[in-house]
Amino acid sequence: MMKTDIAPTTSSLRPPSEIMRLARMGSAHQTRLSFMRGLLRSLRREGWRFDRPVWNIDDTGVGHAVYRATGPRRSYSLVAFAHDLPDEMRSDRVIATAWDATFALFDGTPTAEDIDRLSRNVPKQEAGRITDRELSLSRANRSVRLWAHVVDRLAAGEQPDEEQIEAVGYLMRTTAVYGSGKFGAADRAVLAGRTVMSGPFRAEMLAVWLIRSFSLDLVEHMARVKGGECATQIAPDMRRRLGIGNSTGLGMAPFLVHHPALLDAWMTARETAIARVRALPSATAPERAHFMHCVAGAVRNAAGWRSEHPIQSVKLTALRDDLARLEAHLATDALSQPSPWNALLNWSETALSIEGQEQLAALILEPYGDLVDDLCTNMATDETATARIEGTMTVDALRALIARDYAWATAIDHTPADRCARFWYVSEEKLEPRLGQRHEEPGAEREEPLDISRAVAALASALNDVDGDTLLADFLMRDPQYRHTVRRIQTAASRPYSEIRDNLIDGAMLPIDMLRCKLAFFGATRFDPRSDRWVRICLYRNAPFPHELADMPEDSWAYP
């Protein structure tokens, strides 16, 4: 069946009232549409080549290297700086001032002068300054225990212990990857029209993929220094099992709220993909076999996914149970009936936890790259149109939009202390988003506008005293405090997935739910919360390395 035959209507997509809740967003899984998978497919299809023109790392592991990706029209280079970091300075938090390694993604091939300039700025991260020749700025810390283990084993001519590789999953974890005009880096608009870079976070995803290569090359370099002639390299299969870690805190959470049109584009793409597969009348034998292979991969992934965090531990147990239940259900020949994917997802709504439902929704996309991968091109959006308020709209029309799209917000009573217990702000210390306790900490008067449900409720109340024919331009000239909220409501009018339908200042709100949703769109796996606002993940686990990309089957690595 061609995708032109599969044209789900808006009503066949899962409703925003169901999927835009934090509990479900916080159970999101990577899919075929995740940014890193889309990037690798694009690089492979365009025949990109990769090399390492510079390796200038000394016997103490200090120096720099350059990793270059060359495509039909352009090239990009990761400039990596390796440092000697004392253990006591190693921190993943944004307040850190030194790291094991620092990086910039350069637009083209850097000259010696470029590398010299970058060497004076990139190691300082936020305290340095890059230019619009650079597309991203990032840093990473080693996984201390796995790093030492791998160096020791390789130096002795042995392979690392499989269990330890599985338990950690990466040699380095990035602690920030900045792009889009930050600290002098090129504005996103600079990348407009570049095919490989046209999706969301593509430059950042390319940088992280090349950082993974650097982490493996560096560990093998250190093993050679230590073991000399005895040292060996990691076997390719085991090498591929090492991804790149990432450690992320609150700074990422407000992004989804600040970019409602983008959030809608991501969600719409994913939900349209799910709806296209659900609309299929049957599944061929190869499609079923592909799906079953991925289910088995998901079972192995869930078995190896570890987290000590109490919330995630409960969810992981539920996921493992869900997958066992799914396998049992599939053994009853569930895929042989008409509209098998729709029937399967309908079954999951009562049979599985939310974690399992979202895993299944991601899995059914796997056999259908030809049907859904084109949706990746819809995941970037021009936010120009949504930045403008249509002031010729009447107050009555706005009231109707609130009633249709924000009944969930006006239904919340924000008066009890716990319903407005938090406030979002930007810290003076590191210019990073933080979450305060409204009734215990100072600073609520400097609150960032992330109190969406409360603000909509306040606007709805204020509109009670306004004549329905009043133009919004006039209302907002008089009452500009509602301007931010009116903009959101107008944005949501044609973008049903633009708004998280929960109270973001509630005392029970979990920021890790927002982090997980965004990171799943990146393609992250193995979510391991370290608190309610801090999470470690793994990226590119099992993915091909640059030198393997052309020779491995396309996009075959997500569920090995």
Partner: protein, 200 residues
């Protein structure tokens, strides 16, 4: 006027947004200022000076500027009605470049063209296009600014490149932006990071 420094469009947008909130504007108007500054900078116009000038009156966090007369409110209210603009309208304007920026953003969003004319300059704005001519002081107030719908004239496209910003203006904006920051407390530090060691 100070020496220019180089800032990206994203930095200009974000800093002006925070500065105008720090100055006392509601978030929604502060966002308009950030986007307007980005628009001006993308056409090589003096975004930093326009915004520093805007912030030079009604100073003080928490004291809402006189919204009916302030140049940002005037420009924003005009742009809010851009869809209904059928006939030329004439106005006084303390900061004609703010009117230009907000109508320019409306032209981008609505894919329409508008013409502006005052003593210092005349301009045609359309989606991703600006033609501006004139010898006068772009920053000077005007008592006779005409804004009307127009036929688009092919002009210069916006540039995404980092651009020069007047250093004194930038310093003013950064100081205002600091007003929205909240100092760290023991409670905030305790909640921000992981509760566990990163040395593992």
């Amino acid at each position: 006027m100070g020496v220019p420094i180089i800032r990206t469009l994203a930095e200009i947008d974000a800093t002006v947004r925070k500065a105008m909130r720090g100055h006392g504007y509601a978030w929604g108007l502060a966002e308009e200022a950030g986007k307007a500054a980005r628009w001006l900078a993308s056409y090589g116009l003096p975004a930093g000076q326009v915004m520093a000038e805007l912030a030079s009156s009604n100073d003080g966090f928490g004291s809402e500027p006189q919204t009916r007369t302030c140049p940002l409110t005037q420009a924003t209210a005009l742009a809010d009605r851009a869809l209904a603009l059928a006939e030329p309208i004439t106005m006084t304007a303390e900061q004609p470049l703010l009117i230009l920026a907000q109508m320019g953003r409306a032209a981008d969003a609505l894919d329409r063209a508008f013409a502006l004319k005052c003593e210092a300059f005349q301009a045609n704005i359309a989606r991703n296009s600006l033609t501006i001519t004139g010898q006068g002081d772009l920053l000077a107030p005007t008592s006779h600014l005409i804004c009307r719908p127009a036929i688009p004239i092919p002009g210069s496209p916006a540039s995404p490149a980092a651009c020069a910003v007047d250093a004194c203006s930038w310093e003013t904006l950064c100081m205002l932006a600091e007003r929205i920051l909240v100092p760290a407390s023991d409670l905030s530090r305790a909640g921000a990071g992981t509760a566990l060691s990163d040395n593992d």
